[in-house]
């Protein structure tokens, strides 16, 4: 049931990204281009998503179990450290360079966009390299 529900959620999430215009990198660049002709659309995507999310997470916080069973996996990390800030800055640079963040890039792979395939492979390489680095550090 968890896998079936995850598939449905991924599907709806992806359709939302397409409706929102997030799978068009030129639209993301248009939002990030504050000094040029600025397209504020992305602010409305965030606003709409957060409006629904705010209600859902407010409700989720008072539950101990998920509706399909199992625990609520709410994040427990609290510290604002160098990893969080540095990692997010590096992500933002990559986001600004191509106009893709992970979700829309994966959906664009489903559209058959060869440029998205290359981006996602490079992203997986980055994630994989990070994992290897972390694992070797833990062994030391």
């Amino acid at each position: 049931m968890h896998a079936l529900s995850a598939f449905a959620v991924g599907l709806i999430f992806g359709i939302g990204l397409i409706i929102a215009g997030m799978t068009d990198p030129s639209k993301i660049i248009g939002f990030l281009n504050l000094a040029g002709p600025w397209d504020p659309s992305l602010a409305l995507v965030m606003g709409g998503a957060v409006a629904v999310g705010f209600i859902a997470f407010g409700f989720a916080r008072r539950r101990t179990n998920a509706f399909l069973g199992g625990a609520m996996h709410l994040p427990t990390a609290r510290q604002i450290d160098r990893r969080l800030v540095l990692g997010s800055l590096v992500f933002g640079i990559g986001w600004g360079l191509a106009g893709y963040c992970p979700g829309p890039a994966v959906v664009s792979v489903g559209m058959g966009q060869d440029k998205a395939v290359v981006f996602v492979l490079a992203m997986l390489a980055g994630m994989g390299l990070y994992e290897l680095f972390e694992r070797s550090r833990e062994r030391r």
Binding site: V9, A20, P37, W38, G92, V107, L121, G126
Partner: protein
């Protein structure tokens, strides 16, 4: 100056509501945060666990364009970046989201919805870096 020609308030707001609904379903039904980089990253980690639901979620994302195309024509994207830049961008997004524990969905949508101070800081950081990068690319280098 606002680019009224490209501004799509209604479709972007509607898409945002659908994204929010998906994130709401995931936390309430599965008890999970709909953070794309975290879901994918967990597949690369032996200790990540939950291989089946992670793959199912990614499968849903990949299948979304086909489902969308049943209802209406898919939008055609404009991708200015060439292949070398896409490789660099993808690599930075992979490393950055792993190191910073999240992306636009996990920190941006879910984190801000939870009013998490960590996610507010992360979102401010990647937004600022995105604005700065596009400024350098579009105004200083071209």
């Amino acid at each position: 100056m606002i680019d009224w020609g490209h501004f799509t308030p209604w479709s972007s707001l509607a898409g945002g509501l659908v994204i929010g609904a998906a994130a709401a379903m995931f936390i309430l039904l599965n008890g999970r945060i709909a953070g794309i980089s975290g879901i994918i990253g967990g597949l690369l980690r032996p200790s990540g666990g939950g291989i089946s639901w992670r793959l199912a979620f990614v499968g849903g994302l990949l299948f979304a364009p086909a489902a969308y195309a049943l209802l209406t024509e898919l939008p055609v994207p404009t991708i200015d970046a060439g292949f070398p830049l896409l490789v660099l961008a993808g690599f930075l997004v992979g490393v950055g989201t792993s190191y910073g524990s999240g992306c636009t969905s996990g920190h941006g949508v879910c984190g801000i919805s939870r009013l998490s101070p960590r996610s507010l800081v992360a979102t401010a950081a990647f937004m600022l870096a995105g604005f700065a990068t596009v400024f350098v690319l579009r105004h200083l280098l071209s």
